[in-house]
């Protein structure tokens, strides 16, 4: 009997349940798809570096999954409580017929089990489909071999999904049972009759609160988006808190204020159904201040997460070609000191390494170039930028260590290298220098120092700048624009005893990807061994480092992939949550308002006008939080682009486009479902 009733209930209230069911299915499928990435990737031919990254990605996604599960769990609890409220009348009938609360709980329990099983089953199927899309993404991100691709069902992901969702459904059941025990028959019977007390706020109070909220928000924006040079953790926390509170206050006051303004435009307000439409929206927004705030903030996080993730990834991939012009580079230097006097005895460079060990660059490289980097103990970042005041310096953001020694390079080394990289060479007269830099946060201040023609004194020689700006570029292999500045000086200037690195950069003899990977491995092995051999003969302070294009590629692509996946995961989950909350509220509002629509239909309002009114209501309802979120994001992105710049990332246009597209599909999808289902609800008599 109970079983039958539950099944019927679900069928009857499918209208209400549709969104709930739909959301559950998306939730399950997303959860599965992201957790199945590991299994999916295992079948693809990926380099070992990429595999490591995928393992890391798997671990991170599992971690984020807990967070996502909590978000989805809260959403499900919210939705089920919400649907339960819709059924008070039905419960009342059960109770007047003498059904105990235990039985009602049992009905709800059975329903939850049905819906749970259904959504889990369908969700997993959809998820398996979705994960194929994911692997397409993995393939394109990691440039994997398509030939090895096959459809995989990840058992681990299925188990994980089932565990998470079963736990969630258990929590929902618990919540529902508790809620049922709290029900009172009298309230249930009259819950519909109780004429809704319209929450009306005094317009003056609203305007006041709105102004306060906007000012607070403006201050928070100013702090993160314009005054970010002086940001401290405290200030960031303050601006986040301010942002959150003022978002709440804006939603608290905006409808009252807007309504007052529109009301004063009497010709607009008293035109057609406008009065009705505005009142509907106002009362809705007023009863949903908290949800609206949460939705707005989640949208804000989504927009920032998605567009930042795509920006980082895009610029990483774009940077790679430009910033990795050679196959490999390694640096070496060894200094031996007199143990008693601490006096420098001898500096060994790469040449010495090659001479004294079996390590020969010709074994690996078809072609290579060598260059050295120097420092002057008396020439620091602070010296060069001495004419800038502390505020301008602070605009270098986190780069405030002014006592760092500047790196210096010989002109001939520079030119050989640039020729090798296929880039422009440079000519300097005997008393000139130039600065090479491509770190976005450092470029402007270096340029500021170069503009007035700041002279520098290095190794006792005074030089003037050839250009009043920096040459954009770098000498090392890198995934990002992170060259904070290298001074190029005439060959006669540097003191050979102040050399800090001897570097070789070159292209392999090997040509194919596999061969190159083999060389990478051999080179690393041999280089380590050579260093040890060398150290056993000439103990001293040995510096060395090593980098290959494939390493940079793997880590960059991997990092890009991790960021993309995490951004997508969190972003999509949040979007679903936002869409579902709005849709549920919007639809329940339609159900509550059927009487109102019926009435205006009776007094002769055309169906078309009613549909237009509903569309306007749904639009305002969905756009309001999105609009504020977009404004938030504009300033949030200003801040994040500053952070991204400090990571050497550039360009956000495409990523904003992709982000908008994702939002349009998911959020827009929920909007359309809400509108069309709502239309059906208010038409049904």
């Amino acid at each position: 009997m109970l079983f039958k009733m539950s099944l019927r209930n679900i069928r009857n209230s499918m209208k209400d349940y549709a969104i709930y069911f739909f959301t559950l299915i998306i939730g399950v499928s997303i959860f599965y798809a992201f957790n199945a990435i590991g299994g999916q990737a295992a079948t693809l031919k990926l380099s070992s570096g990429s595999m490591d990254i995928i393992d890391l990605l798997k671990t991170m996604l599992s971690g984020v999954s807990v967070f996502v599960a909590v978000v989805l769990g809260l959403l499900i609890i919210y939705a089920s409580r919400f649907l339960m409220k819709r059924r008070h009348k039905e419960f009342a009938i059960y109770m007047t017929l003498g059904m105990g609360k235990g039985k009602i709980s049992a009905i709800l329990l059975t329903e939850t089990i049905f819906i749970g099983l259904g959504s889990l089953g369908i969700g997993l199927l959809v998820g398996i489909g979705l994960s194929q899309l994911m692997s397409a993404l993995v393939i394109s991100l990691f440039e994997a071999d398509l030939s090895a691709y096959k459809l995989v069902v990840s058992g681990r992901a299925i188990v994980l999904t089932i565990i998470f969702f079963v736990v969630m459904y258990l929590v929902v059941m618990l919540f529902n049972s508790v809620a049922v025990t709290k029900l009172k028959l009298i309230d249930l019977l009259y819950s519909e009759k109780k004429s809704e007390r319209i929450k009306i706020r005094k317009p003056l109070v609203c305007i006041l609160i709105f102004i306060i909220a906007v000012s607070a928000l403006g201050y928070a924006y100013y702090m993160v988006a314009f005054d970010y040079k002086t940001l401290t953790t405290q200030k960031i926390t303050l601006s986040i808190a301010l942002g959150g509170i003022s978002t709440f206050l804006i939603f608290f006051s905006v409808s009252g204020m807007l309504h007052r303004i529109i009301m004063s435009m009497k010709k607009v307000y008293y035109k057609g159904l406008n009065t009705f439409t505005f009142r509907q929206v106002t009362s809705k927004v007023n009863t949903m201040v908290f949800s609206m705030t949460v939705i707005c903030l989640m949208l804000f996080v989504t927009i920032c997460a998605l567009s930042s993730a795509f920006s980082i990834r895009n610029s990483m991939n774009k940077n790679l070609k430009e910033l990795c012009p050679a196959d490999a580079e390694f640096k070496f230097l060894s200094k031996t000191y007199n143990e008693d006097t601490d006096e420098l005895i001898k500096i060994y460079d790469l040449e010495d390494l090659f001479k004294e060990t079996d390590f020969k660059p010709e074994n690996y490289f078809e072609d290579y170039r060598e260059y050295k980097l120097y420092v002057d103990q008396n020439f620091t970042v602070g010296n060069f930028l001495s004419l800038l005041d502390s505020k301008e310096l602070a605009s270098a953001g986190y780069f405030q260590a002014t006592n760092i020694l500047e790196t210096i390079m010989k002109l001939s080394d520079y030119n050989t290298l640039m020729e090798f990289y296929g880039k422009e060479t440079l000519t300097l007269s005997d008393n000139e220098y130039a600065v090479l830099c491509n770190y976005d946060n450092m470029l402007p201040i270096r340029n500021r120092a170069l503009e007035p023609g700041t002279e520098i004194t290095v190794f006792g020689r005074t030089l003037k700048p050839k250009y009043d700006y920096c040459i954009e570029g770098q000498v090392e292999l890198s995934s990002q624009r992170l060259n904070t500045g290298i001074f190029i000086v005439p060959d006669s200037v540097p003191d050979e005893s102040e050399v800090v690195y001897d570097c070789i950069t070159g292209n392999y003899t090997a040509k194919t990807k596999e061969e190159k990977m083999a060389v990478d491995a051999a080179l690393l092995e041999d280089f380590k061994k050579a260093r040890e051999d060398f150290y056993s003969i000439n103990p001293g302070d040995t510096y060395f480092s090593y980098n290959t294009r494939s390493d940079v590629y793997d880590s960059t692509v991997g990092l890009g992939a991790i960021i993309t996946f995490l951004g997508l995961y969190i972003g999509v989950t949040f979007l679903i949550a936002c869409g579902a909350i709005l849709a549920l509220n919007g639809l329940s509002d339609c159900v509550d308002s059927t009487g109102r629509y019926e009435m205006i239909r009776k007094i002769g309002v055309e169906e078309e006008s009613i549909t237009r009114s509903l569309l306007a209501q749904t639009e305002i309802f969905f756009l309001l939080p999105l609009l504020l979120a977009i404004i938030h994001s504009y300033f949030g992105m200003r801040f994040s682009s500053f952070v991204l710049n400090s990571m050497g990332t550039r360009g956000t246009t495409t990523s904003i486009l992709i982000t908008s597209l994702i939002i349009l599909i998911i959020y827009g999808g929920y909007f359309l479902i809400t509108f069309f289902t709502g239309k059906r609800i208010i038409r049904n008599k």
Binding site: K267, Y270, G272, R279, G595, K602, I603, V605
Partner: protein, 254 residues
């Protein structure tokens, strides 16, 4: 002048195997400026009759003419236009929009006729003073008493100058004092503005305010009473007599 002519209308519910005749061959006429009450017990078909006249429901057979135009033939946009421009509705449960103030509720009826704000404002104010609700115009339905709500609903019904005001149990949810006040207003509107009112009720007291009462039983016209020159009290007693007859089994009483 004849305003409304109901001609042999029938309304069936259900299917062939179990047919319910809610209205079974009813015909009557309403003159311009008349105040007609339709009486009958629950299930007698009086609300169905009202719904058919107001085009909310469709008749199964027969014709209804308002100002000589057959409203049973109206379709689509014309239906809405007809309701909007020709009819005024007053319901038992007031049917005010709870999100709107009294003023906005009343003005809505005009603004959907695409009237300018100046016209709307003037009309709302004048109708509010006629019905004595000027001081509640800025209040929301939940802040008003039942009588006030019903007068606001009435204001909304008459503001468009409809040729026919249809009232479905308008005093059903009101206490006796408010009922009396509302009915006197109806009388006033009927007298001073020659408004044609058709009121469905099962309450003899309410019906006694009308100029004519049509009694319906089991979907048929059972009896008709005209007030003529009677006092309201006499008319009331006559109605009570018919109702007593109506209430029991007619065949037994005869």
């Amino acid at each position: 002048m004849e305003l409304l002519k109901v001609e042999q209308i029938e309304k069936y519910y259900g299917n062939k195997s179990s047919l319910t005749k809610a209205i079974d061959d009813i015909s009557f006429k309403v003159e311009q400026g008349e105040f007609v009450a339709i009486m009958g017990a629950s299930g007698s078909g009086k609300t169905t009759l009202l719904n058919c006249i107001s085009t909310i429901d469709k008749v199964s057979a027969g014709h209804i003419y308002l100002e000589g135009k057959d409203v049973t033939k109206l379709k689509g946009k014309d239906l809405y236009k007809f309701r909007r421009d020709k009819l005024g509705f007053i319901f038992q449960d007031f049917n005010l929009l709870d999100t709107l103030t009294a003023y906005e509720n009343i003005s809505l009826a005009l603004s959907i006729q695409k009237k300018s704000y100046a016209e709307v404002d003037a009309a709302v104010k004048s109708v509010a003073s006629q019905l004595g609700i000027t001081d509640v115009l800025d209040k929301y339905p939940y802040q008003m008493s039942g009588g006030q709500k019903q007068r606001v609903a009435s204001a909304r019904a008459i503001i468009t100058d409809p040729c026919l005001i249809l009232a479905d149990e308008p005093t059903g949810a009101l206490d006796s004092k408010s009922s009396k006040m509302l009915l006197e207003r109806f009388n006033y509107l009927n007298r001073e503005y020659a408004a044609t009112i058709m009121m469905v009720t099962h309450d003899s007291f309410s019906a006694s305010y009308a100029g004519r009462v049509i009694f319906i039983k089991d979907g048929k016209i059972f009896h008709e009473l005209s007030r003529g020159t009677d006092t309201r009290k006499d008319f009331f007693n006559k109605i009570i007599d018919v109702v007593t007859l109506l209430g029991g089994d007619v065949n037994d009483a005869l």
